[in-house]
């Protein structure tokens, strides 16, 4: 791999084909790789299989509204404190997308197994009392060779592409993510290709960060999309807060099945992330800054 992986959000996702499986970072209202998601929507990618983190939100709902999604692994998809995710809900109720009925354990242990390419993962009694095995035929069972008992298994999860948002990344792709800890790195290890959107690119002459603060090693990162405010309207913890006003605008339009108006205004009417930033304007963006560093 090249030593300089820095590119634009648009270039970074240009090679993602229709039908790809995508592992999508972001937890609730934080660290959504929105600049990458907007670029994918603008490209009109189709038939994606999405495996988001266990706590997924607006980026998933928008990709569904834009018609990009064929299949979705669901642990939680919602707008957190703003309620249900309207497009996800409509698509699931009308069966226009395929739902893989999953949960936190399925996604976390599944990606853990995928990160190591383990064949599958056996679990202690958890699914047994629930209805999930009835509707997800990949929750299976095998024999525990140590006790002779039957145990429930889940499959290893892997994705073609992993899309994650970070605060700071160096040119080699060493990625600092602040926020919920240590899951995007596991997901990244379970992906064939890893694309990071990063608010800031570490200056090449800056002192290297304490390696304990680096979440995803550059060795497994393919490209770094320089995307200031790349998680907007979601938050990038310690860099900027979520844009509550824009999230409410989204929620209200989506609830009325008018998501197209939102996408037109914020995604299709601009050519790239730079124009998106111009459109929002410095006053609005800088008003969201959080001072953590």
């Amino acid at each position: 791999m090249s030593a300089n992986k820095v590119t634009t959000p648009e270039e970074a996702v240009a090679g993602i084909p229709d039908g790809a499986t995508i592992a999508l970072g972001g937890v609730h209202s934080h660290n959504g790789p929105m600049a990458l998601v907007n670029a994918l929507i603008r490209r009109g990618v189709k038939d994606l299989e999405l495996i988001p983190t266990p706590s997924a939100g607006p980026p998933v709902d928008m990709l569904i509204a834009a018609g990009c999604v064929r299949r979705l692994h669901v642990s939680y998809v919602g707008l957190e404190f703003l309620g249900m995710a309207p497009n996800y809900r409509r698509a699931a109720e009308s069966r226009s997308i395929e739902i893989v009925e999953a949960d936190e354990a399925y996604i976390v242990y599944g990606f853990r197994a995928g990160a190591s390419r383990l064949p599958f993962l056996p679990l202690p009694a958890l699914y047994e009392g629930t209805d999930l095995p009835k509707v997800n035929k990949d929750i299976r069972s095998t024999t525990d060779p140590y006790t002779g008992k039957t145990v429930t298994t889940i499959p290893a999860l892997r994705a073609d592409y992993g899309l994650f948002h970070a605060q700071v990344t160096d040119r080699k792709g060493n990625t600092q993510i602040f926020g919920q800890r240590r899951f995007e790195d596991v997901m990244a290890k379970a992906c064939e290709h890893v694309i990071i959107s990063s608010d800031e690119i570490l200056d090449e002459y800056a002192p290297a960060p304490d390696p304990r603060l680096v979440s995803i090693p550059g060795a497994i990162v393919d490209s770094v999309a320089h995307a200031p405010y790349g998680s907007h309207p979601l938050s990038s913890p310690g860099h900027y807060a979520y844009d509550r006003e824009q999230l409410v605008e989204y929620r209200d339009l989506a609830a009325q099945d008018r998501t197209k108006e939102y996408l037109e205004k914020y995604v299709f009417s601009v050519n790239d992330h730079q124009e998106y930033l111009d459109k929002l304007g410095a006053r609005r963006l800088l008003g969201l800054q959080q001072t953590f560093r």
Binding site: H30, I99, A102, V108, L123, L126, G179
Partner: protein, 253 residues
Amino acid sequence: MAISISHEMADGAFGSVGAASHIPAAGLRLAQLTHAPNLSFFCGGSGAMNPKIQRLTESSADYRNLVTSEYHFSLDDVVDFETAMRFDFAFLGGMQIDKHGNLNMAMIGDWDKPKVRGPGTIGLIFLGGFKTSYIYTQHHTPKIFVDKVDFISGAGWLDGGDARSKVFRPESDGPRRVFTPLGVFDFEPESKRMRLIKVHPWSSIEKIQAATGFELLIADDVQTVGAPSDEELTLLRTQVDRDGVLRRYPSVA
């Protein structure tokens, strides 16, 4: 409701609350500030352990929860603890809750043709991995409290009696309490059916039964929850929820 929760918490226990769970978080924080200084809890969605922030954040993954926390659990840690039965308790909710404390967050209707698609099961299967659990809901209606959930995301006492103990590890007990805006409930020890034990001052046994989609058991000595003490109100207003987030849920909090 936060105060009812606070009163039920034991010192030294270690548990979890979900994302967007302001009321349990407030209840636990209040318990820490009063009778249970060694109570520990972490906020789902962020992993923040014992956040000290004097505000309730709308989003539990808000970075202000993280930077004021004592430790910042990784999702790896959280799932390990959930599976390995290291949490003494958890707070969980559902879009349907049945008379045996089974929870549904997946969908209402048939799975193949859902009437309402819910957000998903997220951490509810760990009801089989928590030592015990507390159920809470911000709404108490017959649509939520149903005889039998349409889909079991989280296993409570299953069909009641000893049904649960045949499935899960012996260390994992079922739900202990249900907190709603109207009252507090336990599960009758033999049948494992939901039973009213405390009524909030603005509520009554009749109102509660009318708001419940199945026949409630009523404890012999149902108590009415007293008004919050001055100390509790002061702590809530100055140490837990300076922005008055709880007051957005007037009859609930």
